[in-house]
């Protein structure tokens, strides 16, 4: 939908020439990517191809070596600390392994950002946490549990609740369904789509689950060799005509992608 008018409106997120190396190892080698406002972009790519590094660069958790990352037309890599914090406050992130704070009960996890950003009182935050937990299908009583008492699927739901609690305009999801059974995966995907649509947010979701990619994504991009090698509508993933994408989406052993087996 919004993807159609991307010619006119500037993209919400615009990445150009993004580079990041760890020592000798070049992980991102000139990534270019546009995400139009209100679109959900799915990024696919093999394990270790740098998908998480890409998202962490956008969030400033990893310092990029070179390139530009514009959010709403402003380059976040050249902002001062305070501006950057303001931009980051509008971004919600669901981490690959949920990354819940295991020393805090579930409700404090969910309300953490609210208490930090808006100075909400604990009573208000607790109230709001119960509402957000309901949005991801969890009872308010779950809020009293510790994260270690939850199953993987429930942890993902709590992680999602924490990411959306402050109603961010941009959301990142790092492999939201990895490690879940197919049914739970579909449930989480459904919740993600609900949340993104309800808030009208712009999203980037990383996945290597094709069913998940088509459920979550409007648009899709493939990261390979440190660059984005293909972008297109998420519906075209299975018959993109791109050899790299085809091999990946169909899980073929033979093809242009050579799995790195040595360390």
């Amino acid at each position: 939908m919004a993807a159609g008018m991307s010619g006119a409106a500037p993209p919400k997120i615009r990445i150009r020439g993004l580079r990041k190396s760890f020592g000798e190892k070049r992980v991102l080698d000139g990534v270019d990517l546009d995400v139009a406002t209100g679109t959900s972009m799915v990024v696919i790519g093999g394990s270790g191809s740098g998908k998480s590094v890409l998202i962490k660069c956008i969030l400033g958790l990893i310092e990029a070596d070179d390139g530009q990352i514009e959010i709403d037309g402003r380059d976040v890599l050249r902002m001062d600390r305070r501006e950057r914090d303001t931009v980051n406050a509008g971004i919600g992130m669901l981490f690959q392994n949920s990354a819940l704070f295991d020393s805090l009960p579930v409700w404090e996890n969910v309300a953490f950002g609210l208490m930090a950003q808006r100075g909400a009182t604990r009573a208000q935050a607790r109230q709001r946490a119960a509402e957000v937990l309901a949005q991801v299908g969890l009872a308010a009583s779950v809020g009293e549990l510790s994260p270690s008492e939850l199953s993987g699927g429930m942890q993902k739901r709590v992680g999602l609740a924490r990411a959306i609690a402050a109603q961010p305009g941009i959301m990142f999801f790092d492999e939201p369904t990895t490690g879940l059974d197919p049914i739970m995966g579909a449930v989480i995907d459904g919740l993600i789509v609900d949340c993104v649509k309800r808030l009208g947010s712009t999203a980037i979701a990383i996945t290597h689950d094709m069913a998940s990619a088509r459920r979550i994504g409007d648009a899709a991009a493939m990261l390979y060799g440190g660059r984005i090698v293909w972008t297109g509508p998420a519906g075209a993933l299975m018959d993109s005509g791109n050899k790299l994408v085809d091999q990946f989406t169909h899980g073929r052993r033979e093809g242009p992608i050579q799995m790195e087996l040595r360390k």
Partner: protein, 261 residues
Amino acid sequence: MNTLLDGTAALGRGAIGVCRVVGGLALFALTGLSHLLRPPFYGRMFLRAFVEFAYFSLPVVALTAIFSGMVIALQSFTGFARFNAESAIAGVVVLSVVRELGPVLAGLMVAGRVGAAMAAELGTMRVTDQIDALTTLSTNPMKYLVAPRLLAGTIALPFLVLIADILGVLGGFFVSTVKLGFAPGSYLVNTVNFMTATDVLSGLAKAAVFGFIVALMGCYHGYNSRGGAEGVGAATTSAVVAASILILAFDYVLTELFFAR
């Protein structure tokens, strides 16, 4: 010639490596401390760290102090009896406990207990992305995790050492009166006469420095750990070893500062 160059190069690399570690550590400590001066201050995190330091370490530190006081009384008796200087025992016990053994042993015990636990907790938070998650939730991890722990360590250890001092002296008193047959009254009078405010205060100042070192090493190694469970284990070991060595090194420096005039 070549071997000489190689040797110089290796020396240079080593020196640069040391400078990098020391510089990184100093920067980490200063950043952590500077966050104490700017709001918000996380009182809950401070209280948690303080209780961890002071309350849960109390049994270990207390036992260590009592036994050390007892041993010193016994050792100095076997040493001094030959010179008929039994009255000096009360002085030896109180000075060694208050100036040296109280702070150093409490510091080492806390390094093994709290320093290790801090490194493990922060290390786990690092490798499971919880520290990154804090940043995405508008919370500076240095301010939230590190600053309160540094403050807690610095304040809590003097309290522990005060208790250790008392128990250490009591340990010595117990052995001297029960086993060696000294008169309780004169032992206590000797203890008070030998002890000065400087002794106690210098011991407490040492304790504050050691507490800071333990918290700093626990936080630094945990915060910068990487490489999964193995990395967390390595961080824990490094935190304990580094804190122990630094405590003994700083003990010398501080003693020099306080007493070598």
